[in-house]
Structure formats: C-alpha cells, structure tokens
C-alpha cells in the first residue's frame, strides 16, 4: 500500500492536488447538476403552462391543419425532436384525465404548475401531471402507427420521456392536455463536467509541475550534495543557489556550512600536524637525554614511559585522522594482510595462531586495516594471553575474528568498551592497559570501510572481536 504513495515532494504534492481537485470537482458537479435540474424543471413547468394557457382550449390553426393532414394520410412535416415535440403532440383535448392506469401523479410538478397557472389568472379546477416514456404515450403511438416512416425514429425517440399535464378548467368538462419533452438529465451534463475537470487538471498540473520542479530540482541537487559531503567531506565547488527564495537561501546556508566544516577539518589537520610536531620533538629530545641516566633500570623504565606516551599520541592522532578524506581504498589480498599482522606478533614472541581458508580480496585502506587488526590482536594478547586470528568469508563480508581465552568482558560493558578511553579494568594501570584507544580505533577503521566491529564473550571463556569488511 505504501508503495503506491509517492515519496518525493513532487509526487506527494501532485497526489494531494489531484485528490483535492477531485473533491472540488465532485462538489461543483453536484451543484451544477442540481442547478441544471431545477432550471429544467422550471422550463418544463413553464412550457406546460404556456401550452395550457396559450392554446385557450383550442388547438392552434397549424395544429388543426396537421391533424387533418394526418387524418388524410398525408406525411407529417415536422420531425420528432428531443427539444420540442411536434406541434400536434403538444396539445390535445380529451374527455378523460390523461392519467393512464398504473401511472403516478407527479405531485411536485403539479404544485409548481398550479402556482404558475394561478399566477396567470387561470386556476385549474383539476390538474394532473405525470411523466412517461414517449413510446408509452397513446397519442405518440397513434401517430407512429399511422406513419410507419416514423417507426425507426421512434426507436430512438422512444426512450425520450415526456411530461404530460392535464387541466380541467372550472365549469368545463373536457381536459386540456399538454405534452412537454423532458430533456435528458445527467448524461448530457456529464461530458461537460468531465471536459471541464480534465482541462482544470491539465492547467493546474502543468503549472504546479513547473512550479514544484523549480523548488524540487535545487532541493534534489542539495540533497545529493549533502549526502556526498556527509560521506566523503570532499571539497567541491559550491552549489549555485537557485529556485525560489526559501530554497535558494537554504542552498546558500548549506554552502556556508560546508565551507565552515571544510575549514574546520583543514584546521584540524594543521592542528594535528602541529601537535604531532610540537610534542614528538620534545619527546625525542627526552628520549635522547634518557641515555644519560646512569642507572640502567631507571633508564629502561623512563624509556618505556616515553614509548607509551608516543604510542598514545600516535593513537590519538590516528583516531582523529581516521575519518579524514584520503586516498581511495585499494584491492588487497586480505589473507596476506592478516598473515603480515600475525607475523609481526610472532616476531615479538607473542602466541598468535592464524587460521585462514580461501584467499579474499577486498578494497581496503591497508595502513588503517593493519592498524585496526593490530589493535585487536594486541588486546587479545594483553588481556587473554593468546590470540587466534581467523579470516573467513560470510556472505558478502570478509570477517576477521580475533579470539582469546582471557576473562572476557561483562555483557553490560561491551558497548562501552568500543568508546574511546574505555578499558576493561576500572583502574588505568599502565601495566596492563594502553590508553584505551585500541578498540575505538579498530571500530573507527571498520566504520571507515563500511563494515563494523562487534565484541562477544566466547563460550568457555574469552573474548571474540569480529571485524567485518564488505567485499
């Protein structure tokens, strides 16, 4: 169901417009129909009244002539029309009421006709109004029976309905009878309404489409641009503001914001470079001076501290830089990458085992992915004593799993562990921990590749870190 509803602004506005137009046209059509119906009724009643009064109880000369012509078998000279009945059919006098057995009196029209007649000073003694099919009318039938040529026409005109009004004046015995065609109602009106609606739709839709496109086009361009900026923070020439004022102001505002964000990112890069330079140079000086310390134990402790600071500084700089715009990822043999990382640890004597199956190739940032994986292995070795590294393919992902047999992490702490500066133990003990940036950095690396990092406790004790990279 929701699929039928358009999702774009243009589509939704058009749909709403169409619905509103439909309702409006429906109401207008109903009103139009009622007005036309009333007009028609008035016309019918007036025509009947005119005929009843105007003929003064006698058929007009022409009528009498026609009647005689008919009686003599001469052709009837006027055709049955939907608008006017032939003159001879319009007027008749009769000794009896025109109401046929089974017919109902049309009370509404009777009242209206009586009012008109009374207004003209001809109040009827008796008045009967009814409506019937032309083909059911005795006079019409007589006419058709006499003129077979008319029969074909009657096949059409037979569906015509006529209003028959009979009036008996005060003091008279004969009925005067008038016949008025009842023009077709709705069917004649409908094409007009439909045409009107179609024209209205076309005009409104055309205008609204042009107008909306003027709004939605720059909006679509802006949406695409924002999307791109959000994903890559690429610096592109600013979008030219266009469209109505509101939209064009939005675009200008976006440009300004993009500019500021870009400036901030650049500033951050410069700042990080400066921090790196300004802190690493004195650290290097300190590291050189440590060689002057006479006590070898103190010397190695101080050197280790300096190394810790340098590593933390590297992690901070890396974490801040990981989201930065840089070179495109490169198709890389993940098995070789994982092996390279595992071998680094083997070289340091860390108990790292490697299981890998098929060769997997994925577009990755090698330096970053190595760094992320290195952090996971380092954590496993540090807290779990050993690390088992596996590389498998799961669906469209490459999964790098690092498992240990350490104490694991309480379930409720797992999410928090992925935040910067979080560590397994509450104490910030340098003996066992780094600065707590390892997992945060690994997660940032996974995010950078469009993948993810998940931690889970291992059945039987230990922790599994799972780094997913889409292939």
């Amino acid at each position: 169901m929701t699929r039928l509803v358009p999702r774009s602004l243009l589509g939704q506005v058009m749909l709403a417009l169409a619905a509103a137009l439909l309702v409006a046209q429906g109401v207008a059509a109903a009103l139009l129909y009622r007005a036309a119906d009333q007009r028609r009724e008035i016309a019918i009643v007036n025509a009947a009244a005119v005929q009843l009064i105007g003929q003064g109880g006698r058929p007009p000369a022409r009528e009498r002539i026609e009647r005689r012509r008919l009686a003599a078998g001469l052709p009837y000279r006027r055709e049955l029309s939907e608008q006017r009945l032939p003159r001879m059919l319009r007027f008749e006098t009769s000794a009896v009421s025109p109401l046929l057995p089974g017919e109902r009196r049309d009370v509404g029209r009777e009242a209206a006709l009586r009012a008109v007649l009374s207004g003209q000073g001809e109040p009827p003694a008796e008045l009967v109004v009814t409506e019937r099919l032309a083909s059911a009318d005795p006079l019409v039938r007589a006419l058709v029976a006499r003129r077979p040529a008319l029969r074909e026409r009657m096949a059409d005109a037979g569906r015509l309905r006529i209003v028959v009004a009979g009036m008996r004046r005060e003091g008279e015995t004969r009925w005067q009878i008038a016949r008025v065609p009842r023009p077709p109602g709705l069917p004649a009106l409908l094409p007009g309404i439909v045409l009107q609606t179609v024209l209205l739709f076309a005009a409104l839709f055309g205008l609204m489409y042009l107008l909306l496109r003027r709004i939605t086009r720059p909006l679509a361009a802006l949406a695409e641009r924002t999307d791109r900026f959000a994903n890559t923070a690429a610096s592109l020439p600013p979008l030219v503001p266009s469209g109505p004022d509101d939209v064009s102001r939005l675009i200008a505002a976006h440009n300004a914001m993009e500019g500021r964000i870009g400036a901030m990112l650049d500033e951050k890069d410069v700042m990080l470079g400066a921090i790196g330079h300004d802190l690493k140079t004195p650290l290097a000086a300190l590291r050189v001076r440590v060689e002057d310390v006479a006590d070898p134990a103190a010397r190695s402790r101080t050197a280790a501290t300096i190394e810790d600071i340098a590593r933390t500084l590297d992690d901070i700089l890396a974490l801040a830089r990981v989201g930065r715009r840089d070179a495109a990822p490169e198709r890389t043999d993940l098995a070789a990458l994982v092996a390279a990382v595992a071998e680094e640890f083997e070289d340091m004597g860390a108990p790292v085992t490697l299981h890998q199956g098929e060769r997997l190739v994925a577009p990755v940032h090698v330096t970053w992915l190595k760094r992320g994986l290195r952090n996971l292995v380092e954590n496993a070795v540090r807290y779990g004593g050993t690390a088992e590294v596996t590389l498998t393919r799961e669906g469209t992902d490459a999964v790098l799993r690092v498992a240990d047999r350490g104490p694991g992490i309480p379930e409720d702490r797992i999410a928090a562990m992925l935040e910067p500066f979080a560590r397994g133990e509450a104490s910030r003990n340098r003996e066992t921990g780094g600065a707590g940036l390892g997992l945060a950095l690994a997660r940032a690396v996974a995010d950078k590749h469009g993948g993810g990092l998940a931690l889970a406790n291992r059945p039987g004790g230990g922790l599994i870190a799972e780094l997913r990279i889409p292939l």
């Binding site: 000086a285 060689e291 590297d314 890389t332």
Partner: protein
C-alpha cells in the same frame, strides 16, 4: 681512520644539542645547523659531511628541499620527522633520502641506521633508492615496486608483505634463476633494521611463499635447492615507472 662526520639539521635546540652530545659519545664528529640556510653555509664553507640528519619540518626552507640538494651532491641523508604517515616516507625516499626515522626514536636504533646507510654508501651500493631504485620488477604479471614497497599480483591486487619479506624478494629479483645460499641472502637483505633479520632466512622464505605461491608446498617462484639454499625460478624484467603508477 678519521671519525665519521655528521651534520644535524634541526630547528629544535632541545633535541639537536643532546643528540649531538649523544652521537659524539658514540664516536662521530658532529656539526649542528639550526636551519636549512645555516646548513647550506656549512656545506659551502667546509668539507662535505659523511651523512646528514635532517628534520623535515623547519621554518624557512624545509627539509625536503635541502634533502634534494644533498642528494644531488651525493651526501647520504636520514630524515627525522614528527609525522609517521607512509606518505611522508615515500616522498622523502623519492627525493633521495636514504632513510627515514620517526620521532621519538630510540637513539641506539638511530646509530644502527646511520651505520647501515654509511655501510651501503661505502660499498657503493646505495640502497633501493639509488639510480636504479625507481625501476619496477616484473615477473609473470607480478609487480614489485622497490620505492613504495608494494607488491601486486597479476590481477593488480595489493599483497601486503613485511619489510623483511620485501627485501628478500628484491634480492631474489636481482638474481633470478641463481642459487643463493642462506648467508648470501642474509647479507643481501641486511638492511636498516638489523634486528628484523635475526631470524632464520628460512622463516622469511616460508612466509613469503605463503603470500605469493599458489601452493607453498610445491613452490613455483622460490624453489628450495637441496643443500644449497634458494633459487628464484622465473625470469624478472625491470621497467621504468609509468605515469600514475
């Protein structure tokens, strides 16, 4: 034998001075310069030093442009830098530096690297970056880029290998189809980070095989020669770098 002359170019006196002291105690004759201009003056005035330690980020003329100047005059250079991005390393090596050390460095490691660079320049076989350094090795579709330390397979997929494996592969590519015994290999791959090569050559060979051989038990590229060592079993060509490579 006269002591080896070193020139330290760094704007930070707090690092330059203790480093000069330390290196003097290690038996070097050390000069200092506080920026590129001062360094150029010293170079113009006296004898050329045997090696220059050069900070990249300095006010005024930066280290990279001085490095280019030194490379032209044939003075070996080791870059000192506060950044540790691989990009810097490539740029530095591309313009003719012989090695690259990230701050903060272990002083003893710096000395080892100084000695290693000096040894290479004395032997007249400057490292991978010298005249031939910018030519790529090609074997059966594989491409080895000595400057960027990159290995790609015939499909163009990057195959990450360690520095030790990379040196070993370069040694093999330099001597295709020749039997190289372990000592010879060790000697050839003996590079800057000597500690990386303490392990047996065999170990490095088996790691390298894991990454480039389709079946490492039945190797195609690096073949074992019984009692002799190893042999790179396919032809290697060298070609110039193409633009954008």
């Amino acid at each position: 034998m006269p002591p080896t002359r070193l020139l330290i170019v760094d704007d930070e006196a707090s690092l330059r001075e203790p480093l000069a002291d330390y290196l003097s105690r290690q038996g070097f004759a050390v000069c200092e310069a506080r920026d590129a201009a001062a360094a150029r003056e010293q170079l113009a005035a006296g004898e050329l030093p045997d090696l220059v330690l050069l900070d990249i980020m300095m006010p005024g003329e930066d280290g990279l442009s001085l490095c280019r100047h030194l490379a032209e005059r044939g003075v070996p250079t080791i870059l000192l830098t506060a950044r540790s991005e691989p990009l810097d390393r490539i740029v530095g090596l591309e313009i003719g530096a012989d090695d690259y050390v990230a701050k903060p460095f272990e002083p003893r490691e710096l000395v080892a690297r100084i000695r290693s660079v000096l040894r290479r320049s004395e032997r007249g076989s400057p490292g991978e970056v010298a005249e031939d350094g910018d030519r790529l090795y090609e074997f059966e579709g594989w491409l080895l880029d000595p400057l960027k330390q990159r290995l790609t397979d015939p499909e163009g997929t990057l195959v990450p290998i360690s520095t030790a494996e990379f040196r070993l592969l370069v040694a093999f590519c330099d001597h295709p189809r020749q039997v190289l015994d372990r000592d010879r290999l060790l000697d050839m791959v003996q590079g800057r980070e000597a500690q990386l090569f303490d392990r047996a050559v065999d170990n490095q060979v088996s790691r390298l095989r894991r990454k480039i051989e389709a079946d490492s038990r039945n190797p195609h590229f690096i073949q074992t020669v019984r009692g002799g060592g190893y042999r790179f079993g396919c032809a290697v060509t060298r070609r110039a770098r193409r633009p954008g490579e």
